[in-house]
């Protein structure tokens, strides 16, 4: 038996395997295929202040070992989320990590203020891969200053007992610079990585495959990018906890992110193909750790940095 518990800036979780934002809605649909209480946490789809219809269709294109999506953050808004969804997660015994998204620093702060304290929310994950309406649509995550402004505002508005994580985009020249900037602004931890911007063209119609032209690439195709980003950021900021996400389909995939420095692992696109994947990944990760002689999950975090230098 491996002690699978993990801790993220004061929030403790019975195990490190979570769903990734946008891949499990708010947990209820997945509850038909697995017990959400068995997961480390359910990370919700990003919640915004107002309901949002999302982008036109087609919104999805399958790519080799991956997929492109251009959903456009379709969601019910914070009021309906608090009324319908969060209570369900708590009643189901799940730990909720609530992802929030906005178009301005004020949006993010208002969302953080609306969320309940640590009894209902285990952590806040700030999705900063959104266009800043006050800066010609530049994505917050691509600008260390804008990203820091969001994280400072969320940290100050949120319940002090709830850790705040910044979810970073890999589509930057220097992800370590953005990570440092967020940490200095008050982020308690980091989620690495969001999707990569990609595009596909349908050879039959000879037009972009997505109505939104470009989309976020996810799935096993991007796992090496996640491993690299986690490795670089953990090396630079060894004391800042990282939730690793990107292309995890098996326990060994999860282990790879952990060895690079992740203190928790989110399963995302794999859920679309296998809704029970998170519990399978958890079982496989525990076996993999046991086979390698780890008594505690936390001993494996960042192990690749230590083993053989």
């Amino acid at each position: 038996m491996v002690d699978m518990s993990t801790s993220l800036s004061g929030a403790t979780f019975p195990n490190p395997v979570m769903t990734a934002s946008g891949c499990a809605a708010a947990g209820r649909e997945l509850g038909q295929f697995l017990d959400v209480a068995m997961l480390g946490a359910v990370v919700t789809k990003s919640i915004m202040l107002a309901p949002r219809s999302g982008r036109p269709t087609p919104r999805m294109a399958e790519t080799p070992s991956g997929m492109l999506n251009s959903i456009g953050l379709q969601g019910p808004g914070i009021d309906a989320f608090l009324e319908r969804d969060l209570g369900w997660l708590v009643d189901a015994g799940a730990r909720a990590v609530v992802s929030i998204a906005g178009g301005s620093v004020a949006d993010y702060a208002a969302l953080a203020e609306r969320l309940p304290g640590s009894a209902g929310v285990s952590a806040i994950e700030v999705n900063i891969s959104c266009p800043n309406v006050e800066s010609r649509g530049e994505v917050f995550a691509c600008d260390p200053v804008a990203a820091a402004a969001v994280l400072a505002a969320v940290r100050s508005a949120a319940d002090p007992a709830v850790p705040v994580f910044a979810k970073l985009s890999p589509d930057v020249t220097d992800i370590v610079a953005v990570a440092v900037s967020c940490a200095e602004a008050g982020a308690d931890g980091l989620t690495l990585i969001n999707t990569l911007l990609g595009m596909a063209i349908d050879p039959i119609s000879m037009r972009p495959a997505l109505a939104g032209t470009t989309g976020g690439l996810s799935g096993p195709a991007i796992r090496p990018v996640a491993v690299r980003a986690i490795w670089q950021v953990h090396r630079a900021l060894p004391a800042v906890p990282i939730m690793g996400v990107g292309g995890v389909r098996t326990g060994l995939d999860a282990l790879e992110l952990v060895l690079a420095g992740a203190a928790a692992v989110q399963v995302g696109t794999a859920i679309f193909g296998d809704p029970s994947a998170p519990v399978r990944v958890l079982a496989e990760l525990e076996s993999a750790l046991a086979e390698r002689g780890f008594a505690k999950f936390t001993d494996a975090i960042g192990f690749a940095h230590r083993a053989g230098g």
Binding site: A25, L30, P56, I71, A270, F272
Partner: protein, 287 residues
């Protein structure tokens, strides 16, 4: 209406065999599941190290003695993998999924009904016909395809239906034209009060509008592209008017695939657009 809960399980291929121009695959389900016509199954393809991550969704043709049958055409990498399965091979299946066709008893006088299908999209109509006959209803079929060889289930429709009308684009079987060309006369002569249809969006729109024009209701099963089939990915949405009169981008996997024809915003559904008055529509440009 309560529908059977979906089960994810490893099924065993019983057979893959040609059925007309198409293929049918039989999957033995270790855990017995029930279904209501119009519901679908989501199959993982390519094995557990597959580079194809997304489920393939197919309407359920029938479940017979623990074997789930699906009709498909081997036209992409995923369906070609399905076509290459042999008896005994494992396939990960989730079924049944989605909201099914509803019998007319609660909403309309128990008049005759017409079932409309294009190509192998007609697959779920045969179990539906059996169910509706069980309700004591007269059942009429209108089946269409591009050409005679692409029709599916005409003989089965003849066994199950009170009448069968066939159309082909090229006139190689039945009447030349589309199902929507033949439908008004069928509705008029049979006095159908409900039309059930499945097939491509343009056909469903035409069927829905013709049904409304003749005073009938339409229940249509849409074929939106899905990534997960279980309601988490928000890929398979289309604009649907709710009971409160509000249009929402609605998931066809959990709130459909069967919708009332009058609830779908057809012009936008045809193009993938979000209606400007949909809940949460992002209005860009000057107000």
């Amino acid at each position: 209406m309560s529908t059977p809960a979906p089960v994810q399980q490893l099924a065993e291929v019983v057979d893959v065999r040609p059925v007309g121009a198409y293929l049918e695959i039989g999957l033995r389900l270790p855990v017995a599941v029930d279904f209501v016509p119009g519901q679908f199954a989501a199959l993982a393809v390519g094995g557990d190290r597959s580079s194809m991550l997304l489920r393939r969704c197919f309407s359920i043709y029938r479940i017979d003695r623990g074997v789930l049958w699906i009709v498909f055409a081997a036209q992409g990498a995923g369906t070609r993998w399905m076509a290459a399965r042999r008896p005994g091979d494992p396939v990960d299946v989730i079924a049944p999924l989605g909201r099914p066709f509803r019998p007319p008893s609660a909403t309309a006088a128990a008049g005759p009904v017409t079932l409309v299908g294009g190509g192998y999209g007609s697959a779920p109509l045969f179990s539906l016909a059996a169910t509706l006959r069980g309700h004591g209803l007269a059942v009429h079929f209108v089946l269409g395809a591009a050409t005679a060889g692409r029709l599916f289930g005409v003989a089965e429709a003849s066994r199950l239906g009170d009448s069968v009308t066939v159309t082909t684009d090229d006139g190689s079987a039945g009447t030349q034209g589309w199902v929507s060309d033949a439908l008004p006369a069928v509705l008029a002569s049979t006095g159908s009060t409900v039309v059930y249809a499945c097939g491509p969006m343009a056909m469903l729109r035409a069927v829905s509008e013709l049904a409304t024009a003749s005073g009938a209701t339409a229940q249509v099963a849409v074929e939106e592209a899905m990534a997960c089939g279980i309601g988490v990915c928000m890929t398979c949405v289309l604009p649907v008017v709710g009971a409160d009169g509000v249009t929402r981008m609605t998931r066809s996997c959990v709130d459909g695939p069967v919708f009332d024809g009058t609830a779908i915003r057809w012009p936008q559904a045809a193009t993938g657009a979000v209606p400007v008055d949909a809940l949460g529509a992002v209005v860009t440009g000057p107000p």
